[in-house]
Symmetry: C2
């Protein structure tokens, strides 16, 4: 059973695109079985209950206890700090409602398909995160005048494309000092579940999920730009493998629909009966305030405005939208699209090799029975 | 966009097996994105935290409120009952620790592969369920002398192989009167999460998940054997499509391993360094008490006993096992198998058309680096 001298390159392959006729592989299925999306009917909840919020874990969920947990703050600071969970909890807290979306949401619908966690459209969720503003902790440490980036290190350890690493992301000092950026120790009023970063994670409202470092153990203020794997290799939009690409950052606008009627078990195809059907769902953007949501009941040929609820003071959270539809027997394709101040969701997927920041219009085929 | 007079058969296909070279389809992926398994590192927890316990929802998660919820008990009973949640909560309660496993666990590893929810090995979890013994409620209603089966109806509605239905399962009166069968309203001490049956579900310790009807709304005591879809069509082990098959019932023995070391992101392949490695995991059976657990570090060529913890009074819950291994550089296949009084886990998958009750030995390939 032994082969001599293995190294990481033997078990950790480069990024690739699926072949034209290639179905989802067993490796991709293994990722889909661990990580999970939001069942779309659960868009009805303002706050996503535990277990329904999307989850993406790069390596393993660390098995941590709060007693032994410490957060080290070091680098270009006046006073390095070591904080316990009790230290953090004794500081003034803030609660922010945040819609979080995986940067790879929609990846499995791309052609060609980037081989990675195969999301369809459901990698999203909304929670209320409670914690200490990162700014308050950085102010206590005293950020040096030469500081450029802040680097966050998690306790999850693995290998990715041959690079062994603890999960680590950098954020510019400007972004790190945003007033709603949190060192969060509670989700929807309860301690973080293990899979969402227990005991403490970073929350960066408006950004795709990769920025919200879970199982946070170290914060390093850096005088040089961070060049780690997750910022410079992984989360970039590229058309060609060798180009530097653009960093993935804030969440592009998206609207999703609660699939109406009832499903077929195997295909998840939707069935309704003739008559009035209330269409509803959620829309969000991490880039700029939403300007509106439109629905189509003819596959995108014509569009009309949906009713969009105000944000009720939650600028980083999804907003509910509703529209009416009178279903008639036959096959229909429902669609919904959101617009923010920077633009409207595209009809087709904005392709890149990593399958990031895909925000194509959500379409839901529906069959209306005769009666 | 319209086609006239559609019916359910147009959108709800018969069961089928995948072709030899067929990858996982987008329909199967859509199921894998909604339903989720237990990330295997979470086998470390005695009780599975919310969101890590496996989840299989046949149709949509109903959006129910406890205020309006009622449980109707009728049929062959002396006194039909209508219970509110407060009624249930006012009765003496019982808490039972239960390992629950999906009957389709392991399905995606079968050849040919039955096309359905594509589980690998992780469709399992353990929770403490609190509720009222079903027996106590049936005694209040008074089960008639002609009673044969008890039929449980959930609030989830959908279509499956052309049959529109509320999810519904029957259980023999004898099984229904088991002392640990519960009408459960709490999971790990908190109200049921929506996806696990809020406000009330049935719990039938020792049985595969299909028996534990979620979002319970009706209990009907029947003088004739129940012939509904989920008992007579869906959950049967069959070699040929037309045979009646045997009902899927109690959980066959299984052991799973916490994959040691750390993973590659994409392949989930495991990497360890040379030296001592503690192997650990869980084992369970719903049929009969466990007799032992064995591990192999040479792909099943040789086996040795693992240390198996006692059940600590939880006869329906998994038990922790541990074993030592000294990893040497090279490629290895770890394996673990459990035995109960009725037998040992098989080396290869016990194939049937539905992909049910597969309990083949768990194998984990591991690469040990040179240093």
């Amino acid at each position: 059973m032994n082969t001599p001298q293995p190294d990481l390159s033997a078990v950790s392959a480069p990024a690739r695109l699926a072949e034209a006729a290639e179905g989802i592989s067993m490796e991709e299925l293994a990722l889909a079985a661990r990580n999970h999306g939001l069942p779309l009917e659960s868009l009805r909840h303002d706050l996503t209950p535990p277990g329904l919020h999307y989850l993406l874990v790069h390596y393993d969920i660390p098995y941590l206890d709060a007693e032994g947990w410490r957060l080290e703050i070091s680098g270009e600071v006046g006073t390095p700090l070591t904080l316990t969970l009790d230290d953090l909890r004794s500081l003034p807290s803030r609660t922010v409602r945040v819609t979080m979306e995986c940067a790879g949401n929609g990846r499995a619908q791309l052609t060609p398909r980037p081989v990675s966690q195969p999301w369809l459209v459901e990698a999203v969720g909304t929670a209320e995160w409670t914690g200490v503003p990162l700014r308050a902790v950085l102010e206590r440490a005293g950020v040096g005048p030469g500081a450029v980036d802040v680097v966050f290190t998690g306790a999850d350890h693995g290998v990715e494309r041959g690079v062994e690493q603890d999960y680590q992301r950098g954020l510019s000092v400007t972004d790190a000092l945003g007033e709603d950026v949190l060192l969060a120790y509670a989700m929807n009023g309860a301690p973080l579940p293990p899979q969402h970063g227990y005991p403490v994670r970073l929350v960066v409202p408006g950004w795709y999920g990769m920025a919200h470092v879970k199982w946070l153990r170290e914060i390093t203020v850096s005088a040089t730009p961070f060049t780690g794997f997750q910022n410079t290799v992984a989360y970039r939009t590229r058309q060609e493998p060798d180009e530097p690409g653009a960093p993935v950052a804030r969440i592009a606008p998206r609207a999703l629909l609660v699939p109406p009627g009832f499903p077929d078990f195997q295909s998840r195809h939707r069935i309704v009966r003739p008559g009035p059907v209330e269409l509803t769902g959620r829309a969000w953007s991490g880039r700029a305030p939403l300007r509106g949501v439109e629905v189509s009941t003819d596959g995108g040929a014509t569009w009309r405005p949906a009713d969009l609820e105000p944000d009720h003071g939650h600028r980083w959270a999804w907003r509910r939208w509703t529209a009416r539809w009178r279903a008639e027997p036959g096959s229909h394709v429902l669609a919904v699209r959101a617009a923010d101040a920077e633009g409207t969701q595209p009809e087709t997927e904005p392709w890149n090799r990593g399958g990031f920041a895909n925000n194509a219009v959500h379409r839901v085929p529906v069959t209306c029975l005769s009666s």
